[in-house]
């Protein structure tokens, strides 16, 4: 299973943190420090996998954001890379050319999308269409019950 997923910028600012097991706040902060320093120190042409304690760390950089996923030792590393990629694809479909700012200003949406994709440290749904449909239908529900003026985005 996956243990945690962190997104942070090149300066080490954390943009998203998802923990799949119960961990104390202090422990979380320590892990965040360790991960950011470890990953940011990696050379450009290294492989995407690291060993840390008894976990495997898979990381990949997309533009200005580092995606850092920690999995159990028996997990398949290449698939974990693709989990990261799939999540980026989902964000991209939702926000349209997603960038770091989108995740900063719409952090709660990033968490909602993640919840449709991964639950309890495991993949829930691997079809991009199905996940997108879920997210979009929730958006529909939002538009129904919101009384504020909103921007309608036309998507095909």
């Amino acid at each position: 299973m996956m243990r945690f997923l962190l997104l942070f910028s090149r300066q080490g600012k954390l943009r998203l943190q998802k923990w799949f097991t119960p961990i104390s706040e202090r422990e979380k902060k320590k892990i965040i420090r360790d991960m950011t320093s470890m990953v940011l120190a990696r050379q450009p042409r290294s492989c995407n996998f690291l060993h840390w304690k008894d976990l495997k760390i898979i990381y990949k950089r997309y533009a200005s954001l580092y995606f850092c996923l920690a999995v159990d030792n028996q997990e398949n590393e290449l698939l974990a890379l693709e989990v990261i990629h799939r999540y980026v694809e989902l964000l991209d479909k939702y926000f349209g050319n997603v960038c770091e700012l989108d995740i900063i200003f719409n952090f709660e949406k990033a968490y909602f999308i993640l919840d449709e994709f991964l639950i309890g440290g495991e993949i829930q749904e691997t079809s991009k269409q199905v996940v997108n449909r879920c997210i979009e239908s929730s958006d529909m529900l939002q538009e129904d019950d919101s009384s504020e003026w909103y921007e309608v985005e036309l998507f095909g």
Binding site: T126, S127, D145
Partner: protein, 781 residues
């Protein structure tokens, strides 16, 4: 790119986030945050009830502040209120808040569970999913207690929607992991297995994770899943890329599902049913074949997905370890990856090969790649890849290539990362011992180790080389000569001095004939390092000096002078002082016979298992543990005096814990016969039975032989003493009553564990004596 969010806006939140980003300093940020917190607090406490939108906005702001890293201690009630709202967005934010800021207030938990219960029974699939996600995210014991029976029902109910089933499966998995005792097997288990046949691939994907975990704990209950998994897998593997529609990922059919199926199969032994097994082998062969086909897409995602399935299939093949043909093919495939352009693949190939190396079918095949691996060790830029290469060399080592591999690992060690040096040292030491045909090679290797990475050579390693030298007559001369030469280097590591001191002390006579290594030369060489060493090393050297006096009487005067000088006999360290004083005295008053007996050559050590293996196992590392275990169980190890190193070393671990069986407190039997495994400071006596009758070279402190007679007149004093233990007695008598205290003092710097004492009463004393044991005050010296 939209800075304004879709849907409902929440302008206030966006403005707040902008403000924070525009803060120029940490202090400004904290100031802004505190201002906002005060604002929110007052709004929450205010008289007017907040509308849903505002509540949502403020709760979201609190969440943001929390995720920035600041503590939040309020807002939970409002979040719980949001949970119970009927508006989807409000619910969503409420759930997110309480999943992230888990609170252990029982009242809140009760309210949250209530809200969840309502959502679960609402029959609205979106609400049900939200609730299930929350349970899966939090997974607390209270939630498990409340919902563990409900969720399996939802999972297998006929009218549950697919999306809800998926969430329910993974939610149940989470609860099972955190509170396995609350998730009871029931009639739902057989129906869960049949989810493997579900039409909806998403449901299968989710269900498989659940089944994999459950079958690890209850293999029999779920063993019907094996044949279902095989048929599903073969359907996917043989499907064209258009069949599975959206479950095809960059032209690879259902990679996640395939890998999960392969992982599930790794929980069980190979299928017994011939037909099932045949289908599975066919599948695996297809996967291996596909790897050779040209790629359908240039994108890295395609190759990653394809290779992910390949690696998982190889893991399964290795796990079964029963199809030689497949194993060899897997090995060849990995061999190709070893030289692939992509670093990731080289890394994974090296890692996978480590496990292949321990299988008897593929061990030889793995060895053919030795040159590639050595090359990787030397030329890879990425340190983690180099480390995998080192692990693989360790795994593939056997008698035929040991010398080559050890040499390569030694040269790698010279430039290796500090963080991995200790592990490398242990591995080299183990290999050198295991595959040594010629023990002088072994001695050379260890001395090289000390020379290259002395700081990382732990005690176990150099104890071991000394044990081996002591036990093997044929290598003693060579060891003495080599050590002598090594000590002549201008800057030699302290561990080298320890080893050298010990070996010259025991076997210096073997090289004393040569004028270049005459006794005085040897002594001067050792003594030149004396002042550079730490206290334990100096103690060892002092012991070596007294041994010299015994071996080479012509050095007696010189050495005595050294012992006599103030820096020794008035040394502030008690151990050194004691040794200097006692050795000096011993050398002056003992006759040559007595001296020779006391300082007799160290007898061979009894057969022990290697403590180095135990130490390596303790270190975390992918190649370290499993490979050694597999190696030991599958192959014959090297020999040490006819014995072989096997498995975990409990005796050495016991030694390091300094556990003592009880020395009998029998006053009339001073020398207790019970052997004790303790690791005292002096060199090499790790394996010596310290309390045994035939006390070897180390001169013990004066044993109070006539000690107990003294107590006829005296009430207090030391009853028994040796290097490890001191037993003191204190008694008081009044009229017909007497009280006797026995004190056991630990003289080592290691804590005694499981220390027990027994008092035995001869004859009628039993009825007259009451004894009570006070819990020991475990102090160390």
């Amino acid at each position: 790119m939209p800075a304004v969010s879709k849907g409902d806006g929440m302008r206030g939140l966006a403005v707040f986030i902008s403000d924070i980003r525009n803060c120029k300093s940490k202090e400004a940020e904290i100031k802004r945050i505190n201002k906002e917190l005060a604002n929110i607090r007052s709004k929450f406490k205010g008289d007017k009830a907040l509308d849903g939108y505002s509540k949502k906005k403020y709760v979201c702001k609190l969440l943001f502040i929390f995720l920035l890293g600041h503590d939040i201690d309020f807002g939970h009630m409002e979040a719980v209120n949001l949970l119970s709202s009927n508006k989807y967005t409000e619910k969503q934010i409420g759930y997110l808040f309480i999943s992230v800021l888990v609170n252990s207030n029982s009242e809140l938990i009760r309210l949250i569970n209530n809200a969840i219960k309502n959502d679960l029974s609402s029959r609205n699939p979106t609400f049900m999913c939200l609730a299930l996600h929350c349970i899966a995210n939090v997974g607390s014991r209270e939630m498990a207690e409340a919902f563990a029976s409900e969720i399996p029902r939802i999972l297998v109910a006929g009218d549950t929607m697919d999306s809800v089933k998926q969430s329910a499966a993974l939610c149940l998995l989470r609860l099972y992991k955190t509170s396995p005792d609350l998730v009871l097997m029931g009639e739902w288990t057989s129906r869960v297995v049949h989810l493997l046949n579900d039409q909806h691939m998403g449901v299968v994907t989710a269900a498989i994770s659940l089944i994999t975990c459950l079958s690890q704990k209850n293999p029999d209950e779920f063993k019907t899943c094996v044949s279902l998994a095989v048929s599903r897998l073969s359907r996917i593997v043989s499907s064209a890329s258009t069949d599975l529609q959206d479950y095809t990922y960059y032209f690879v059919p259902a990679p996640w599902l395939s890998c999960k199926l392969l992982r599930l199969l790794q929980c069980y032994p190979p299928p017994e049913d011939g037909a099932v097994k045949g289908r599975l082998v066919e599948c695996l062969e297809t996967i291996l074949n596909k790897a050779q086909e040209p790629p359908k897409s240039k994108k890295v995602q395609h190759s990653n997905a394809k290779n992910a399935i390949l690696f998982e299939a190889i893991s399964l093949i290795i796990h079964y370890d029963s199809e030689p043909n497949l194993l060899v093919r897997a090995c060849n495939q990995l061999g190709q990856f070893l030289q692939h352009r992509e670093t990731n693949l080289r890394y994974l190939a090296l890692e996978s090969m480590c496990t292949l190396a321990s299988s008897e079918f593929s061990h030889e095949a793995v060895k053919t790649h030795i040159e590639t691996v050595i090359n990787a060790l030397k030329t890879e830029r990425d340190v983690s890849v180099r480390q995998r290469a080192a692990d693989l060399l360790y795994a593939m080592c056997d008698r035929s290539n040991a010398k080559q591999i050890v040499a390569e690992m030694l040269s790698y060690l010279e430039t290796a990362d500090y963080s991995i040096r200790e592990e490398m040292v242990l591995k080299v030491a183990i290999l050198a011992e295991k595959y040594a045909v010629d023990y002088s090679w072994y001695v050379d290797t260890i001395l090289n180790l000390i020379r290259i990475a002395g700081d990382y050579v732990s005690e176990e390693v150099w104890y071991r080389v000394i044990q081996i030298v002591i036990n093997r007559d044929d290598v003693q001369g060579y060891a003495a000569k080599t050590v002598f030469e090594a000590l002549q280097a201008p800057a030699c590591h302290e561990n080298m001095v320890k080893v050298g001191g010990y070996i010259l002390g025991e076997f210096g006579n073997l090289i004393a004939g040569d004028p270049r290594s005459s006794p005085l030369v040897q002594f001067n060489l050792l003594h030149s390092k004396f002042h550079l060493c730490s206290v334990p090393t100096r103690a060892l050297l002092l012991s070596a000096y007294i041994k010299f006096i015994n071996l080479f009487p012509e050095t007696k005067v010189t050495i005595q002078e050294v012992l006599r000088c103030d820096s020794q006999i008035r040394n502030s360290d008690v151990e050194l002082q004691q040794r200097a004083v006692e050795y000096l005295k011993l050398s002056s008053i003992a006759s040559t016979d007595v001296l020779a007996t006391v300082l007799e050559e160290m007898p061979p050590f009894p057969e022990r298992e290697s403590s180095i293996l135990a130490k390596l196992k303790k270190k975390k590392g992918p190649g370290a543990v499993s490979v050694t275990e597999l190696e030991d169980s599958k192959r014959e190890g090297g020999e040490l005096n006819g014995g072989a190193d096997r498995g975990p070393d409990t005796s050495a671990l016991a030694a390091s814990n300094a556990s003592t069986p009880s020395p009998s407190a029998d006053l009339l039997g001073i020398r207790s016969a019970a052997p004790i495994n303790v690791a005292p400071v002096s060199a090499g006596s790790l394996l010596v039975d310290v309390f045994s009758e035939a006390g070897p070279a180390a001169p013990s402190a004066a044993v109070n032989d006539d000690g107990f007679l003294r107590f006829v007149c005296k009430n207090n004093g030391v009853l028994f003493e040796n290097q490890l233990l001191q037993i003191g007695i204190k008694s008081e008598y009044r009229q017909n009553l007497g009280r006797m205290y026995l004190f056991y003092g630990n003289k080592t710097s290691v804590q005694f564990a499981s220390f027990t004492t027994t008092v035995s009463y001869p004859g009628e004393l039993q009825s007259h004596i009451l004894s009570a044991l006070k819990p020991p005050n475990l102090q160390m010296r």
